[in-house]
């Protein structure tokens, strides 16, 4: 492809021209990021500043800014009856989902890592629910768990194992488990994919060498797979914790807080405050609190996951 005369000319450039060329190249590089920069300024940084400002004012959904009232919005969160239960509920949900999704994701990744047609089919099957949206999956579950058309209870009833339809959503604990099952079903394939990528980065000869030394499969897993999988596991943990702490669709569609507002997540409290109680100021203050907590948790996770990498 290269024509010799031009490449010689390029090499023969004097220093001043080369400097100008490198400056030009810097500018060109920067120019390519201008759309990113504009997007971030307009749709990310400006709203962040605005939400911080809104949190300091009395700000009605229809009335707009009614003046500075700090720290009233923040104080009112303290007294919000839904807030603390929602924090506790969100934390329970996050721990449950993260433990299950990472465990099952890793299990699936180990199951499909052999190279065969069957494991290819399995990988596709496990990934199918990932392509279905969370709202669609929640609506699917809405019927799936209903006493009216749910498919689980009738066969069990026919066998005489249960007396009536299983109450999948009628207690807070049942609703938590049912929603967790839905989320694990929908996202397990995604975490399988992340961890499969990690598993494939581990060189085969490590296993072979250890196996020659007589290591058991458990020891191989414990001393080779797990430590070398740490970067992928860290990424998966951070994504899963962040996603779960911000859960909204599944509870908004499936439980709507029922029974008795015991399945309300933190983001649902923000939604209610903003669009049902029409108080954008308090909603903004809540958003700021959630943002700060999330940033702190992520920093902690980075530090913890990176710190333990050095062991």
């Amino acid at each position: 492809m290269t024509s010799p005369s031009i490449s010689e000319a390029a090499a023969a450039q004097p220093p001043a021209r080369r400097f100008r060329a490198s400056l030009r190249r810097q500018l060109v590089g920067f120019a390519y990021t201008i759309p990113t920069l504009i997007f971030i300024l307009v749709f990310f940084l400006t709203p962040l500043v605005l939400v911080a400002k809104m949190s300091l004012s009395k700000y009605g959904l229809l009335t707009g800014d009614e003046g500075f009232n700090f720290p009233k919005n923040y104080v009112s969160i303290w007294r919000n009856q839904l807030f603390w239960p929602s924090v506790w509920f969100t934390v329970q949900y996050t721990v449950l989902v993260t433990v299950l999704l990472l465990g099952i994701g890793l299990g699936l990744a180990l199951l499909v890592q052999t190279v065969s047609r069957w494991s290819g089919v399995l990988r596709t099957v496990f990934l199918l629910p990932v392509s279905v949206g969370l709202a669609a999956a929640s609506l699917l579950a809405y019927g799936f768990y209903s006493p009216a058309i749910g498919p689980i209870s009738p066969p069990l009833e026919a066998l005489g194992l249960i007396d009536g339809p299983i109450p999948f959503l009628s207690s807070s604990f049942a609703a938590l488990l049912s929603t967790t099952f839905l989320v694990v079903w929908k996202f397990a394939g995604f975490y399988m994919l992340i961890l499969t990528v990690g598993l494939q980065g581990i060189p085969d000869d490590l296993y072979e060498a250890a196996a020659l030394d007589g290591a058991t499969p458990w020891k191989l897993f414990r001393h080779i797979t797990l430590p070398l999988l740490r970067p992928s596991l860290s990424l998966a943990t951070i994504l899963c914790v962040t996603g779960s702490l911000l859960a909204f669709d599944q509870f908004f569609i499936l439980t709507k807080g029922a029974p008795d507002n015991t399945t309300v997540t933190a983001v649902q409290v923000i939604y209610r405050e903003a669009f049902q109680r029409q108080n954008l100021g308090t909603a903004a203050a809540l958003s700021i609190i959630v943002l700060i907590v999330l940033v702190l948790i992520n920093l902690l996770q980075f530090r913890f996951l990176r710190g333990s990498e050095r062991d």
Partner: protein, 277 residues
Amino acid sequence: MMAGQKHSALGRTPYYVLTGGLAIIFLFPLLWSFYASISPQASTGQIDGFGFGNYKTMFDFGAGLPTVAANSAVISILTVVITLLISTLGGYAFARFRFWGKDALFLLTLSILMVPYATLLIPLYVMLNALGLSNSLVGVALMISMFQLPFATYMMRISFEAIPRELEESAHIDGCSTFGTLWRIMLPSVTPGLVTVGLFAFLAAWNDFFAPLILLTDPLKQPLPVTVANMRQQTMGVINYGATEAGVVIMSVPCILLFLLLQRYYVRGFMSGAIKG
């Protein structure tokens, strides 16, 4: 690899039983939703025998399925185009150029991941109203694109970084401008990355619930997820489960088809990221 070699065909029977069982668990809800959407149920559009009565209910609800599906399509296509455009240019710059503020801008892009949807949606609701973009599909697409940027930019950056530099240099020496190099030489080499980013953007936009719920108050502008969620309670508080599942099927089929069609690229896009770690 590890599990495969040591076991005989007989020893692998438990493996097939276990994985087969898991496959059934993963497929069952999807198959069931289709079954539920065509099976008869009292006080729905499908009372006697199997048929597509629930789809008719779904078709006629609210603004009507053509409008609703068109809304979803507009939001999704705009999101895919915007995301691909911005992340390709950005990813190319981050992978191949050195300039002042590069690392800071890249980190800033990734930091979008840390900010909750709700934190930005409330001020964006106010901003879009002020800009006259309330009830605008474009506003929703811009919003969803923004949340796609961290993943998309990261993906495009590692895709471009995986291309050997020689390819680009020879094109440059042949007199291609940097944009010509990007367009003619680099883009064909990052197809798996482009497809992965595009597919993710499509799935995110097609399925997004929160942004349209908040930013679109006009029922004529609502996309599928919000419409189907609203459709559940139609007549006298009786829940129309059959029509809901019909809505689920209509929402899911395009996603599943696209996913199956593009799976080859999508998995490869992920793998190319793996090598970089």
